[in-house]
């Protein structure tokens, strides 16, 4: 998909290995499983829960230049949707090539309508978006 996906928890790499080998749902998951037992990297991204020593469900997209572009954190009881993540990632790829455009909320994939912010568009986003 053009990005390095790294899953991260505060478990050690040994536990990662044991879980990956035991859990059938992970049979086809091939992403490197990062280990952050001290919570250093989790703290850096603001997802370390000091009460539990665990990392919250945070998803972060970092550009090849090292800039943080997206940040999303869910509480313990909500899983994440891969479609949502892919939409954001694809939008980043598009915007990296088309720096004068913006991807509106309905943008899903390459070819979908984008917007070019300008003085002309102020108060006329509907017309720009609907092409009227």
């Amino acid at each position: 998909m053009g990005a390095e996906v790294i899953t991260v928890s505060t478990d050690t790499k040994f536990v990662h290995l044991a879980w990956q080998r035991e859990e059938k749902m992970l049979e086809n998951v091939k992403y490197p499983m990062g280990s952050d037992p001290t919570g250093k990297v989790s703290r850096m991204f603001g997802v370390y829960d000091e009460e539990t020593g665990l990392a919250l469900r945070g998803t972060f997209i970092i550009s090849p230049e090292g800039k943080l572009l997206n940040s999303e954190v869910n509480y313990y009881n909500m899983g994440r949707n891969v479609d949502e993540l892919m939409r954001k990632f694809k939008a980043n790829l598009h915007l990296a090539k088309h720096t004068d455009e913006g991807c509106p909320s309905k943008w899903k994939e390459e070819g979908d309508k984008t917007l070019k912010p300008s003085a002309k568009m102020v108060g006329k986003v509907y017309e720009a978006y609907e092409g009227k």
Partner: protein, 56 residues
């Protein structure tokens, strides 16, 4: 780590970090480093979750 020490917000540069890994594609331990990913012009997606042996 200066001003980007904790609770990074979007638009900030991420300080270099390293993580030890278990890499299922190689069946072996390894390491990822943001510095290396940047040198290889890679996009990086970090996916934090609370604990192994639970749902992700």
């Amino acid at each position: 780590m200066g001003e980007n020490c904790c609770g990074l917000t979007v638009g900030q540069m991420v300080p270099d970090f390293k993580l030890e890994t278990f890499d299922p594609s190689k069946g072996d331990f390894g390491e990822v480093s943001l510095e290396t990913l940047k040198a290889n012009k890679k996009w990086t997606i970090l996916f934090f979750y609370p604990a192994d042996f639970t749902f992700v």
